[in-house]
Amino acid sequence: MEKFSYVNATSLEQVTSLLSESGWGEVMLIAGGTDLLAELKEYIETPKTLVNLKTLPGMDSIEADASGLKIGALATVADIAMHPTIQHHYTVLSQAAGSVATPQIRNVGTLGGNLCQRPRCWYYRDESTDCLKKGGDICYAVDGLSKYHAILGGDPVYIVHPSDLAPALIALGASVKIVGPEGEKTMSLEEFFTLPAANPFRENVLEPNEIVVEVSVPAPKPNTKSFYLKAREKGAPDFALSSVAGVFEMDGKTCKTASIVLGGVAPAPWRSKEAEAAVTGKMIDESVSQQAGTDAVKDAEPLNDNMYKVTLTRNLVSRAAMMAAS
């Protein structure tokens, strides 16, 4: 790591003011640090100043009531995974949080950090590779090694978004509160993430002087079933090759509404309106669930090494639909 100086945050106003002193990368935020320190050690980022958010009071709370959840950006992934109300009523979120990395990382990694973590692409993470995401000319995954890259929404940067929490939260209809120098704003978490066609350098719409402070989740409707299915290369902890966050409002075997969001296959969490349409209003059986899987990947454009993700994703979506009806 290069040297940097360290500021213990005292207020959100101070944090946004420090961030406003420069553009991206000069002043950076640290909470759990499990992603950021790896980037610093690889010299992917060389900030002059880190602002420690952990000294901000009250931002690690998880509040649950009849209307829904409010989760502070500093809540740890472990706290989200183990929260009794989330386990009971927001199963998809609890399962997604429990699938993140390892106990040691879940114990310190935070909600805000998980949503704002940077891509795992091996070209992006390699110091000496000057790829498109880092201001270079090309995305090396297009003609290079692309086993873990995007099959949907890639052009022109084929990273995948690594967050497990994001697909689950989007499927639950979450919104995110952001604070900047001009005050706070709230937007749907789905709109928070962006594709490389809009901005190849970032994965979300945050400005350099803005910070994620809270995520709100509306309470699921009665008779809702939700799941997070995550395919990994091995049984041990890993990022998703493909994942499906499914939230299904059911009436017996009939699906009243469905929210299906894919992870690990696109540069942003990928809402599959096609798969949702295939199950909504239908009695879910084998053929309906298979149609949902097929529709979810009908626009997929795999690269040289990731054709397998099309089949994998199709089958995960089908399985999630079948689970909703069982």
């Binding site: 290069e2 002193e21 050690k41 100043t49 880190l50 106990p103 270079g136």
Partner: protein, 211 residues
Amino acid sequence: MPEKDKKQGTNISRRNFLKGVGTGTVAATVAPSVLIGSEKAADAQAGDAIANATIELTINGKSYQVEVEARTTLLTVLRDGIDTGGNNIDLTGAKLICDRGECGGCTVMVDGKSVYACMMLAMDAQGKQLTTVEGLADGDDLHPVQEAFIQHDALMCGFCTPGFIVSSAALLNENANPTLEEIKVGLSGNTCRCGTYPFIFDAVKTASGKV
């Protein structure tokens, strides 16, 4: 310009660039607000930028004063730190292996929870109760997990063992009687390249209910 030359021209990494221009540039990177060097962290006003500071860490119940840079990790302090009295801290049980929060060799407990010491800044460990593998035994009385590792011969080369023992102790702190599946999940942040996992799981089962 030929394609090859162009590529070389744009492929200078930031690390090599900074090495090339020497330390002057690095030293000139002043923080946006007040920069404090060699101050006690406690003396710095909240919100000040700290480049390096003398911090107090509580490790295995003992207090240590140590001067660190902001970028110094907890693992570096444990293994290579020198306290303000000139004594080596010398807690080398936590191992420096991957240095990227993947292998678990550096696992320590922070307020009773397992954490990778390589991925935590030393400054963030202030005010916490830190426990390393050296702090688990009570004098000559080994921790139940340590006893069970010996009983089950739960190691081969032994390099990962301190990390596994700390993770096992942290797991049993939270869940006194874990199932085999819960043991596997609880230890999933540690890697044993010798593949001694079945013996490790047996050892944790044996130590269950004794922590």
